[in-house]
């Protein structure tokens, strides 16, 4: 069924279709619509879930972890300051292998406070043990909530998943979304059946104090689950494509990369705009393409390497700064491509929610192409930033 809805609404519908059982919640712009919609579903009897109005995000993630450990399918959503506030608990859910799904409405993590899109909130959680993915439109937001539960609950993975959607650009923007049938989702996503839960019939200890003789192995095990996740993500993407007719490419997606000589790595909604820019540049005969980084964790090093093997220069879009000179994505990409002789240029843009325009994306391609032609360029560009040159 086609519906014209916001990204937040799409996420809420996605969660409902997954028949989530416990939803602890706390409001923060621009995530608020998600939990409001879920509250409506519950109070209207459309969703049989326990909706908990917690008193903070720290408590949201605490309740989420506990409910998950007790065997429930748990969903929640947050953003920026809220994500930061629950930071400690992100580190509790992942190593305990609790497959919670939490949407993050990407937003500036202040100070100074701002409510618009930036990735410095989720990037700060990149090593907490959560899988992270970034969507480009409302349809993908809905679809990825469903896929997230499949990935999270897969016995080879058993890790929490954080689908991120751009604050306002998606959360508060309506566009047509094809809402899948409940029956179809039910056959794609079976009820959650964990092995060990908090149950007096079979007592377990979860989260015990752990001496150094064991923690290293536990971390290694979690790292292994991230490796397995790569395969699982691809597999579930294909299965989803078959069932629902929408193929997102798995860890990364590519556009016009077959014969591209210059490429730009994008994330989130900038991918969407960049598609139009590529079309325009292609009409002018320029061989450009995009690689959409869908999953930031696990990081698709192998897939990236393969995708860039024939190109001459690579641009990397970053929506946050990592204070090593460039953005976090740039850092990861460069180390993934270590040993390959491709110039990699970092394009910082859209920070604090500043609009990323087609003109800026054009400029990103232009600078990257210069590098491809062997011209001298900088490593890092701050786009549309007063006092900078581009």
């Amino acid at each position: 069924m086609k519906k014209v809805i916001t990204g937040d609404h799409a996420v809420a519908i996605g969660a409902k279709l997954c028949r989530v059982e416990v939803v602890p919640a706390f409001p923060i712009t621009p995530q608020t619509l998600i939990i409001e919609h879920i509250a409506d579903f519950v109070n209207d009897g459309e969703l049989d879930a326990k909706f908990l109005t917690m008193e903070s995000e720290h408590s949201v993630m605490s309740a989420a972890a506990a409910a998950s450990a007790a065997g429930a399918r748990v969903f929640t959503a947050t953003s920026s300051q809220g994500l930061a506030f629950m930071h400690e608990m992100l580190y509790a859910t992942a190593p305990l292998r609790l497959p919670v799904v939490m949407a993050n409405a990407s937003r500036t993590l202040g100070g100074p406070p701002g409510i618009w899109c930036e990735y410095n909130d989720s990037m700060g959680a990149r090593d907490s043990g959560w899988l992270q993915l970034y969507v480009e439109d409302n349809q993908e937001a809905l679809d990825m909530v469903i896929q997230s539960f499949r990935i999270a609950e897969d016995k080879r993975v058993l890790l929490p998943v954080m689908p991120c959607l751009d604050g306002f650009v998606l959360t508060h923007t309506v566009e047509p979304v094809d809402v899948p049938e409940q029956a179809e989702v039910d056959s794609f996503l079976l009820p959650y059946e964990p092995d060990i839960i908090l149950d007096p019939k079979r007592p377990a200890m979860i989260g015990t104090f752990m001496p150094s003789e064991y923690i290293m192995e536990l971390r290694r095990q979690t790292a292994g689950a991230f490796e397995s996740a790569k395969e699982v993500i691809q597999q579930i993407n294909s299965e989803f494509a078959q069932k629902f007719g929408r193929d997102y490419g798995g860890l990364i997606d590519t556009y016009m990369m077959e014969d591209a000589s210059t490429a730009l790595i994008t994330m989130g909604t900038v991918t969407s705009t960049a598609r139009e820019v590529v079309d325009e540049l292609r009409q002018k005969g320029e061989k450009v393409g995009i690689i959409k980084l869908r999953f930031f964790r696990p990081f698709p090093s192998y897939e990236l390497k393969k995708a860039v093997s024939y190109i001459n220069a690579l641009g990397v879009f970053d929506r946050s700064i990592s204070y090593h000179g460039g953005g976090p994505v740039y850092n990861e990409v460069r180390s993934s491509l270590f040993g390959m002789k491709i110039p990699v240029i970092n394009h910082l843009a859209g920070i604090g929610g500043r609009d990323v325009t087609t003109k800026q994306i054009m400029k990103m391609f232009e600078l990257t192409q210069k590098a491809a032609n062997g011209e001298k360029v900088s490593d890092v560009y701050w786009h549309n930033t007063r006092g900078e040159t581009v």
Partner: protein
């Protein structure tokens, strides 16, 4: 505390020394481990000590359960708080050994079974690594600073007394001590997320209720003796025992104390309304 005091004394003599505890999780009374390294030049190594020149044992009941000299260098020495002579101590191999009854010295001088200053006196005597005078100085300084000059002096006296009463010789080497088995799963074997249900490994039980693998009797300085004739079976000791080591034998209407888990706290004796329980030294 002993390890730190020793390091301070060594530094006062113009050496370089580091001391650090093994950061264990157990509470007061549980066996603990501490290390001291002494050298004439700066020590850079930040690892634990695996092959010491000298092992100091403050509680000889550990000798029954732990191979305390497992890593000791062949020429190394063991210093043990014990009322026995070195020849009567079986360490599983014949090595240089010094003994001193630090517990009775501590009870005598400090009025508490706190042996860590006394044992340092034995260390000074047996190894000669440090002079007893430097040790006395450091003890006075360290304890005096926090607990007052009197306490400092009494502790220094404990060290001096131990110094004088230390006997050196060689241990026996008869018994075979097996290292306590430990379950050490690989990352493939460790249960997902570290979640454990009741289980059994080669090294014993794991998971819920498995702490019974941990015999804590070594913590006890005293242990309770119950006079059956006096006992009225009011069950207060059974209720209060924080360890749960007093059991009801329902069919005989009696109680039984499993000393494996008694830490010798004395609560049962203190609370018994008819004074049926007496605390006695766990080891003479």
């Amino acid at each position: 505390m002993a390890a730190q005091t020793l390091a301070e004394a060594a530094v006062n003599e113009g050496n370089y020394a580091v001391a650090f505890p093994f950061f264990g999780a157990e509470r007061r009374g549980a066996p603990v481990l501490a290390f001291t390294r002494i050298d004439s030049k700066k020590i850079f190594s930040k690892t634990q000590v695996y092959a010491p020149d000298c092992v100091v044992v403050l509680d000889d009941s550990l000798l029954d359960t732990i191979d305390v000299v497992a890593g000791l260098k062949p020429q190394g020495m063991a210093i043990i708080n014990s009322k026995e002579k070195p020849e009567d101590i079986d360490l599983g191999k014949i090595i240089k050994t010094a003994t001193v009854n630090a517990t009775s010295i501590a009870l005598e001088i400090l009025k508490a079974p706190i042996t860590n200053t006394a044992i340092l006196g034995a260390f000074a005597k047996a190894t000669g690594i440090i002079r007893i005078e430097s040790l006395e100085e450091s003890i006075k300084e360290k304890f005096g600073e926090k607990l007052g000059a009197k306490v400092g002096e009494r502790n220094a006296l404990a060290a001096r007394t131990a110094y004088e009463r230390t006997i050196t010789g060689k241990s026996r080497g008869v018994k075979k001590l097996e290292a306590r088995k430990q379950w050490l799963p690989t990352h493939q074997e460790i249960p997902v997320g570290g979640a454990l249900i009741e289980g059994k490994t080669d090294a014993g039980l794991i998971g819920p209720g498995s702490f019974i693998e941990n015999k804590v009797s070594g913590w006890a300085t005293y242990r309770p003796l119950r006079d059956r004739a006096k006992c009225t079976m009011c069950l207060l000791c059974w209720f209060y025992c924080p360890e749960g080591t007093i059991h009801r034998i329902s069919d005989r209407g009696d109680l039984m104390t499993n000393y494996d888990y008694c830490k010798g706290c004395g609560v049962c004796a203190n609370e018994c309304p008819v004074d049926a329980i007496k605390m006695v030294r766990a080891r003479a």
